[in-house]
């Protein structure tokens, strides 16, 4: 369960996230849509505790990220937008390091690492150094670290960014499967993913929510049955119409 309440973030005079509130329940997959600069990544970084909010709070399984960050972070698996990794480690070395950080030991650690490698199809590159991997494999390695401790909440920032169509399909199927038992929040630019993987979607623009509903509700709201048209209508356009 993710409960975001009046989350605000200001960088100097610029308000990146403006009084955002939403809830994601277990078994739900919430898609976070919006143009670049809308505040999606900033929101996710606040919810996962990377940056502190200017005001407001986010509760992960009831634990506040502001008051009790260490406990709250144990509940989340997070895939950052840039899929950062330690280039000098091997895939399995990196996953073992993350498992150690997550407090897994002995057989539990070995099983968790093996399971994450299988889930993310990393078997063929497990002993390779991370800096030799292609983008798709790097993304999947970072996704694997978010799944190691079997968290109740998954927060994924553009999980299919830069992947080829086959990889995109695999990741979406994975998200759908995980979403049945976990609480998943993921951000994307790709509108087909909303219908493919989400149970609900939210469109943000300039730090505020401009639409919220299930994929069918949003399609109905658009008037033309196209999410693309709804997106174009509700969000700011930088070029002339």
């Amino acid at each position: 369960m993710i409960e975001v309440e009046n989350l605000t973030k200001q960088f100097g005079t610029k308000t990146a996230v403006d009084n955002l509130s939403f809830k994601v329940s277990p078994g739900e997959v919430l898609g976070f849509l919006g143009p670049n600069g809308a505040g999606k990544s900033t929101t996710m970084r606040m919810v996962t505790g990377f940056i502190p909010p200017t005001s407001g709070d986010a509760r992960l399984c009831g634990i506040s990220i502001v008051d009790n960050p260490t406990e709250a972070k144990k509940k989340v698996g997070y895939l950052p937008e840039s899929a950062p990794l330690y280039n000098d480690m091997t895939v399995i070395g990196f996953l073992r390091f993350c498992a150690d950080i997550r407090g897994l030991n002995g057989t539990a650690k070995k099983d968790a690492v093996d399971h994450a490698i299988d889930t993310c199809f990393l078997g063929s590159v497990a002993t390779q150094a991370i800096d030799t991997l292609s983008k798709g494999y790097r993304h999947r390695t970072c996704l694997a670290q978010s799944l190691l401790h079997d968290p109740e909440i998954l927060i994924l920032d553009e999980p299919t960014d830069g992947l080829d169509p086959n990889q995109k399909y695999e990741i979406r199927q994975l998200i759908k499967r995980l979403g049945k038992t976990k609480t998943v929040l993921f951000s994307t630019h790709i509108l087909e993913e909303v219908e493919a993987a989400c149970t609900r979607a939210v469109i943000v623009d300039r730090g505020i929510i401009v639409a919220d509903g299930t994929p069918s509700e949003l399609l109905a709201q658009s008037g033309t049955g196209s999410l693309y048209d709804l997106f174009r209508t509700l969000t700011t356009r930088e070029t002339a119409a």
């Binding site: 406990e71 480690m89 993350c98 950080i101």
Partner: protein
Amino acid sequence: MKSIWTIFKREFVSYFTHPIAYAVIVVFLFLSLILTFTLGSFLEARDASLTYSFFLYLPLVLMVLVPAVGMKLWTDEQRNGTIELLGTFPISTRSVIFGKFFAAAAVWFVALALTFPIWITVNWLGDPDNLTILSGYIGAFLVCCTFLSITLLVSAFTRDQVICLVVSAAICIILVLGTFEPFVQSYSKALWDWLVASITSIGVWDHYLSLARGLFRIQDFVWFAAIIVACLFGTSAVLSAKRS
């Protein structure tokens, strides 16, 4: 505690998978021992001790080499984006800072330990006081830790390794040369005695040399501890400030 150990393990192994640790250690060994046999007049002085031959010139070598080991500590994380991973793991920033600091200190422990041939040599050629030599090594290790903590603080400010190296080396150089005998002699003529005494007690030599001579004074440990603790806390403060 376990998270400090996990971070320590990762960083320590990472140092030895890159050429940097090997390059710095080899250069350190060369320079420190060359200075021992030339400026330090180890053989000519015929003195069975390492204090005025080996240990005396160590800070001059350390002031530029220690920042080279410490400079990647935070700059790499910030440049690769892995700082976002560390920031969302259920570990405190303090654990990460300590883990990194201990890993870099361990690299310097290895470097100092590899100077053991000179210790064997001085025992072979004469009958030195080994406890004094041990105290000298402790002093050298504390100087490394002090310079590392300064480098760690500077590396939290920047994404660029070169800036980090130059700024932290500059600070270490000022601490070392500012209180080095020949320099002290030139400015002590111009300044009041109490000011000269204050400046020399802020610098490295007074505290390091007393340990190199075998003296364990409280004020020396206070000096080392104060700088190390202040820099580590400062690093934590800078990292939190950068994110808010």
